[in-house]
């Protein structure tokens, strides 16, 4: 049994397998299938200041090796989260991390301040990369200046571990990563979904109500790996890698590219128990290759000079 423990900032994780925000509900939806406490952490669904109804239906389109979604951050707002959801999930014996989103910097600040008060939420993931909202979201994550501005504002009010989730819909993701690192982000997670679209040729109409949506699943894995690799060369803070991870082998590839932890997203929809299988598969890989710790393979891609 290899040592799977990792650290991000001062926060310890029993293993490097987390579940991606928006794909794992509040964890409760998966209690029937396995003990979610066996995971390194759970990134719960995005929370905004005010209640959001999200986008109209249809919100989903299946594509080759992936799917597009246009959910649009549907949630009941931060006060509902604090009063109704938090009591249900605060007992989890794993790191429960809130995903914080907003339309304005003030919105982000309100949510982050309230999350800061919750004892059993040891970290937040700042979502500056949602492609499915008209205002805010990805707009904050696609320029260095705005990414810096929102990170700086949140760093002032949030004292625990701050993860910033980056958008792949940029020319140079490493520059954005450096920008948020310079403002005190403790970690970056990448990638959020890629902006895409799907068309029904027969009806000559878009499939999604919003025309465009966020592409996830194995279709985006090569891009995610490339971006983790590029960011790992540019920053010193730990990277949480995600994008199309379906099994332990995929996860190992992200560690080799430079990720300290990984998140499982779309795969949860197909096999609700997949994240636990990935934990076990990583352990098996480390034993088979005689590595004592997960830390022995992080960033250890062997590239010929």
């Amino acid at each position: 049994m290899a040592d799977l423990k990792i650290k991000i900032n001062q926060l310890e994780f029993k293993n490097p397998v987390l579940t991606a925000s928006g794909t794992f509900g509040y964890g409760l939806e998966f209690d029937d299938f396995f003990d979610v406490n066996l995971l390194g952490g759970i990134l719960v669904k995005a929370t905004t200041n005010a209640k959001r109804e999200g986008n109209p239906y249809p919100r989903m389109a299946e594509t080759a090796s992936g799917m597009l979604n246009a959910v649009g951050l549907q949630n009941k707002g931060v006060d509902y989260f604090v009063n109704e959801i938090y009591p249900l999930i605060k007992g989890y014996q794993t790191n429960v991390i809130a995903n914080v989103s907003g339309s304005t910097i003030e919105d982000y600040i309100v949510v982050a301040e309230k999350m800061n008060e919750l004892e059993n939420i040891p970290a937040i993931e700042l979502n500056i990369s949602c492609p499915n909202v008209k205002q805010g979201g990805m707009a904050f994550g696609t320029s260095c200046a705005s990414a810096q501005e929102v990170t700086k504002a949140i760093r002032k009010v949030y004292s625990k571990t701050l993860i910033v989730k980056l958008s792949p819909n940029v020319t140079n993701i490493a520059e954005i990563a450096k920008a948020v690192e310079s403002e005190g982000a403790d970690s970056v997670s990448l990638i959020n979904t890629l902006l895409g679209m799907a068309i029904n040729a027969e009806t000559r109409k878009p499939i999604l109500s919003t025309v465009t949506g966020g592409l996830s699943g194995p279709a985006i894995k090569p891009i995610a790996l490339r971006m983790v690799w590029q960011v790992s060369k540019a920053v010193n803070i730990p990277i949480i890698g995600l994008g199309g991870i379906m099994n332990a082998t995929d996860a190992i590839e992200f560690f080799l590219a430079g990720a300290t932890a990984i998140q499982i997203g779309t795969a949860n929809f197909i096999d609700p128990t997949v994240s636990l299988k990935v934990v076990n598969g990583i352990n098996e890989y480390l034993d088979r290759h005689k590595f004592a710790s997960i830390n022995d393979i992080i960033g250890k891609l062997e590239v010929k000079n």
Binding site: G54, Y57, M60, S65, G66, M67, P218, A219
Partner: protein, 258 residues
């Protein structure tokens, strides 16, 4: 209700025609409680073209034989692959999902199905009959080629048929069948599943008569367990997930213009 992920073996692949199939699946394990109107998510392993599971309502359940059947109409690559599955192959299911129909303790119920929407009504009729409710079932289609399994539905209730062209049963739409206005029968509840235009017509008819009405909605789903929030429908309380807060809705809760 606790959800399970279980491998079933295909016991029978009963092709009704080139578009519709009933799959009878058997589990080695004892089946848990399953309610009429609930559905399953089936894994169709044919990546990259099919990636997500496919949702199907439960057509029938035999708790003694541990079998569960699904009524499948070909809608795309995933369902087509399922209709061609061989007896003896395994299918992985997540179930039971969703809320199910409400079942009264007495009286008469009218079940109206069109197309593959007749799927969930067989198990519903069975559950109603077992609960001392008298089911009347209207099966509708464009022509007699669209009417299936009449003998099966007849086991659990009185079957009535309408076809658009009059090739079987009464000619016309399901909402015009004479049983609806039969002075000798007082329906306490109406259930419907089928094309949205048909369900809306049924809902309008039910509303005009002041009869409770529940509809089973279809929607594009990713997870089926309330995690992705993709399959919402508009209700008077905002967007609700068809997978966890449905698929069965009372028409008074929907924002249908009827």
């Amino acid at each position: 209700m606790k959800k399970y992920i279980i491998d079933f073996k295909v016991l029978e692949n009963k092709k009704l025609n080139d578009q519709n199939t009933i799959l009878v699946l058997q589990s080695d394990e004892k089946l848990p409680e399953i309610l009429a109107g609930q559905f399953v998510e089936v894994l169709v392993e044919d990546s990259p073209s099919t990636f997500l599971r496919r949702p199907f309502s439960v057509h029938n359940v035999d708790f003694h034989e541990n079998t569960l059947s699904l009524f499948i109409k070909i809608a795309g690559i995933g369902s087509k692959k399922l209709t061609n599955i061989e007896v003896g192959e395994n299918l992985n299911l997540i179930f039971p999902l969703g809320n199910g129909f409400s079942i009264p303790n007495e009286g008469s119920a009218l079940l109206i199905g069109g197309g593959c929407g007749i799927g969930p009504l067989l198990f519903l009729a069975k559950c109603l009959m077992e609960n001392n409710v008298e089911p009347h079932i209207i099966l509708g289609g464009r022509s007699k080629e669209d009417i299936f399994e009449v003998h099966e539905y007849s086991k659990y209730g009185t079957v009535h048929i309408t076809t658009d062209d009059g090739s079987l049963g009464e000619k016309g739409f399901v909402t015009k069948h004479t049983i609806i206005d039969d002075p000798d029968i007082k329906f306490d509840i109406i259930y419907t599943c089928g094309p949205e235009i048909m369900m809306k017509a049924v809902a309008k008819m039910a509303k005009s008569k002041g009869i409770e009405c529940e509809v089973s909605l279809e929607n594009t789903m990713a997870c089926g367990i309330g995690a992705c929030l993709c399959c919402v429908t508009e209700t008077i309380d905002g967007n609700k997930c068809v997978c966890t807060e449905g698929p069965v809705f009372n028409i008074n809760d929907l924002k249908w213009q009827i």
